[in-house]
Homo-oligomer: 188 residues x 2
């Protein structure tokens, strides 16, 4: 397969806000888009949960897709706001999350339900190996901003998490964030 | 091909210095390692030019390799310090450079000698598409620090640049950095 090389280009990232310049492709997720994801009911579906600002290149295995995500602080019940979370459609594709601002947790899960949780704070580069579903959770009081890079052909499988839930939830406990089993998780 | 998933892990990056924690694998390039790369002769081969701090994962096409590079300020003759520069062994593999500190230029070249130069400064994410050799140049007075992410099986072809030179050089001109044709470049 030979195709003409892409032209080099650049985007500028505001590390504090996650804003991209240029920013051609913004995904805006409201709580309404997360209906059914939280244990508690959503009070105000119009509240913004997160935006994803994507750098577009052809989604092929020789390219790298990248984006910033800006996840608002907040809770539904005692669960902190989170991203939907997904597996890659091509399961073995890796991803890197570099946190730029804010604080949170990155929860990751294999299809067999095993989970690993890692801290997110500015300067931490989290490696999400292939086969691990990944969801970011804002446990702080300011937006959680991170930069993600992944292999162009990875694709997205949101359906598995939408249907089964994530194996763990992150709630505000007496002494800070607590990772607990998700009572609504459907084991495979 | 099925192999057990890697375990998630994290490294912490100091955006000001490029230091990684943990930092298991540091490459230390002195001017002696760049003998023959500059137009002028090197006065002091022991001077440090750059260090590369690599995050190690298996170098396969489903993984992402990543590293920080810390390129010292300085000049050899009127040429600013630069990294050796390379093509990827698998030519079509892309790379992203996110500048964290300092200022410089990213010079890129196709094998036919066509070049593109882009600015590097904190917050700029440069996309280096497949087929473009890439070299970073520190045009400032402080270390140039950037974070690179590339596809795990990309590999390195340093020999082509070592043998033919880079099509352009970056020199200190009357009014700042100037990109000029490399008098020693060997066109294909």
């Amino acid at each position: 397969m030979t195709s003409a090389p892409l032209e080099p280009f650049a985007v500028t990232i505001d590390f504090a806000t996650g804003a991209l310049v240029p920013d051609p492709d913004v995904l805006d997720r409201r709580l309404a888009d997360l209906d059914g994801y939280f244990v508690a009911d959503i009070d105000d579906p119009g509240v913004g949960a997160y935006t994803v600002h994507e750098v577009r290149v052809p989604p092929t295995g020789n390219n790298l897709l990248s984006s910033t995500t800006v996840l608002a602080p907040g809770k539904v019940g005692d669960e902190y706001f989170f991203t939907k979370g997904h597996f890659h459609a091509i399961r073995d594709r890796a991803e890197i999350y570099l946190t730029l601002s804010g604080e949170g947790l990155l929860v990751m899960a294999l299809e067999d339900g095993r989970t690993v949780t890692k801290e997110m704070r500015p300067g931490i580069a989290n490696y999400v190996p292939g086969h691990w579903a990944h969801r970011s959770v804002n446990t702080g009081t300011t937006p959680l901003v991170f930069y993600a890079v992944y292999i162009g052909d990875a694709g997205y499988d949101y359906a598995t998490i939408a249907e089964r839930g994530f194996p763990v939830i992150v709630v505000e406990g007496e002494e800070g964030p607590e990772v607990r089993p998700n009572p609504r998780y459907v084991a495979s």
